[in-house]
Each structure stands twice: as C-alpha cells, then as structure tokens.
C-alpha cells in the first residue's frame, strides 16, 4: 500500500468534485482512471464491485467513493474521499445561492447549464461503457445490461428489485 498517498488522493478528489456538474456519474471515469489505471490502488474487479455495492446503500449515489476510501485506508480513507464531496456543496452552493437571491433569473446560470448538459451526457456514457467493459465478460452480462435499460425506460420500478434480479442471475451462473 506504499503507493497510497492520502493527501494526494484528497486533493485529486477535491478538484474532481468541483467539476462534477451533473452529479457523481460525471466524474466516475476519472476516478476509475486515477485509482485503477494511474495509481493502481484497486483492480478493475475491486473497483466495479465496490461501486456496485454502494449503489444498494441508501443515500446519494456518490457514496461509492466513501466505500473505496474505507477499503483502501479505513476511517482515514473515508475522510480523504468523503470530505472533498462536501466542499463544493458548502462553498459554491451557498455563494451561488446568495447571488441567485440577489439577482434572480440571471441569464448566465441558464447558459452554463445548457452548455454543460451535453458534456455531462458524454461523461455518463463514458461511465456506462467503462463499467460495462469491466464487468460483462459474456453474452449473459450484456443481456442483463440491455434488459435493465429497457425496464428502466418503460417501468418505474425501484432499482433495488433490479439489483436483486441481477444478483440472482449472477448466482445462477448467467454471467
């Protein structure tokens, strides 16, 4: 674990969270790049398993970074990965909230949102493909991914049922 530098990880995550417009899925590819490819702190399989585990926890989807922090370095790791996600929320949010009350309906905010939405979509697509390539090794995995997309777009079932079905399919040896 001598490759693990908590201060560096803290700073990297801090920069990422300031870029995370559109939520945690937008920075998933870069977190994967940093932890798996660049610093090699986790294997591809570990990264995917920790991400997936956290998806069935309550609370925001972003909690996978906390789980990864715990896995790498216990409570110190939890701090190094979780505090960075709080900082944009507490500084920028209150600053912009204040400006928004003083200058309601300012055009700049709408323009930024419209401009960055397509970039966010590209980043979420990158997240989806990275995750799919890491996990699906045969037709069974791709089939489950495809079925999930179809069900989510047509029904409003809780994701927990889909995860339960996926777990059953996995244990049944479909993947």
């Amino acid at each position: 674990m001598e490759r693990l530098n908590l201060v560096e990880m803290f700073l990297h995550f801090l920069v990422l969270w300031f870029l995370a417009i559109g939520g945690p899925s937008a920075i998933f590819p870069d977190i994967h790049r940093y932890l798996v490819e660049s610093r090699q702190l986790l294997t591809n399989a570990e990264f995917v398993e920790l991400y997936t585990l956290a998806q069935v926890a309550p609370g925001p989807n972003a909690m996978y970074v906390t789980l990864i922090g715990w896995h790498l370095a216990g409570w110190k790791g939890v701090i190094a990965t979780t505090i960075p996600l709080l900082i944009p929320a507490t500084t920028l949010t209150l600053l912009v909230g204040h400006l928004n009350e003083r200058y309601p309906g300012a055009r700049f905010g709408r323009v930024v949102r419209r401009a960055l939405t397509p970039i966010t979509i590209g980043l979420v697509l990158a997240s989806a493909t990275i995750l799919m390539r890491a996990v699906n090794h045969n037709w069974g995995g791709y089939l489950i991914t495809l079925l999930t997309v179809i069900v989510v777009l047509r029904k409003s079932w809780s994701p927990l049922w889909l995860f339960a079905a996926g777990a059953l399919a996995g244990v049944a040896g479909l993947i």
Partner: protein, 184 residues
C-alpha cells in the same frame, strides 16, 4: 399548502437533522423523490415552486444534487448550524451503512457466490447508467452542436482516458461560448 414568505420561517437544527436523515435512509437510487415528499408535503417548509428552484440550482452546481439541496435548505432555515445538521443527517447514515458494507466485503468479498451476485448487480448498474444517458439525451435540443460537445467529452474521457480536468478546460469554454451565442 399555500405559504407566503416561507423564507422567514425558522426551523430547529434538530428537526433539519431528522428530516434529512429520513430522506437519506428512505432513498435508494435517487433521493430527489423523497426530498420533495419530506420538505414539501410532510413538513411544508417549502412550496413546490421553491423546491423546484432550489433543486435546479442544486443540479447546476457541482457535487451530489440532493446534497446541494440539503445545504441550501439547512442554511436558509437555520444558518450554518442548520446546514451542518442537514448534512450530518443526509450523509452520516449512508457513511455508516457503507462502512458496514466495507467490513462485510473484506470478510466475504472473495466467496464465489458473493462475487457472482456482485457481477450480476454490476451488469444492472451499467444498465442504469445507460438508461440515465438516454433519459438525459431526450431533453437535448435537436441540433448538432450539443451532440458534438457530448461526443468529444465521451471520446476524451471514455476512449482516450485523458484526465477530466484537461477535457473540461478544453471543452467547457467553447460550449459556454456557443450556448451564449445561441438565441434562447
């Protein structure tokens, strides 16, 4: 339901802690539904319109959307103490749950059945992300410029595996310039 000047309302930080704990613990796969139910319907702290405005702001800003909503709502009703109480309620419980999962993963993560179940769930997680892409893309305007920026972001981060910071620095100014020039 009708409220005027709800911004004058003061709320006890412990009530904020309890409310955001409830939102957090009931939200699986997206807290926004539960946030509205608690803040608008159950407590009546916000009107529907106020809630939509705050949520839109939370989406525009970086970070988890509902966390941004938590900070804004907590701060509005009880200042910094309120923001801290809301965040403690919203993030504290998930952190504990996730750490519990981490302990279990370290003990049982290597078992074949656990790994098989996780593999199946990961295929589902990938599907959820693809579905999110489809839902987001349906609201994009029907011209080629936004798609170009989306494709470049995907190629830079997903295929070339360049650092996100570089890609954002390269794309965001152009995207904002184009959006600014377009007529609304």
């Amino acid at each position: 339901m009708e409220q005027t000047k709800s911004s004058k309302l003061r709320v006890n930080p412990s009530a904020l802690f309890l409310s955001f704990s409830r939102i957090s613990l009931s939200s699986f796969g997206g807290a926004i539904f539960w946030a509205r139910r608690e803040l608008v319907e159950r407590r009546g702290w916000l009107t529907d319109r106020e809630f939509v405005e705050i949520f839109t702001l939370g989406q525009l800003l970086p970070g988890p959307n509902v966390l941004n909503v938590t900070v804004i709502v907590g701060h509005r009703f009880a200042g910094w103490t309120g923001a801290a109480a809301g965040v403690a309620g919203f993030l504290g419980w998930p952190v504990l749950v996730v750490v519990g999962m981490g302990v279990l993963y370290q003990h049982y993560g290597a078992l074949p059945h656990v790994r098989q179940a996780l593999a199946g769930m990961s295929s589902v997680a990938a599907g959820l992300l693809f579905a999110t892409v489809v839902k987001l893309a349906m609201v994009l305007p029907r011209n080629w410029r936004p798609w170009l920026f989306g494709a470049l972001a995907f190629a830079g981060v997903g295929i070339m595996r360049w650092p996100l910071l570089w890609v954002m620095c390269a794309l965001a100014p152009g995207a904002i310039f184009v959006a600014w020039k377009e007529r609304e």
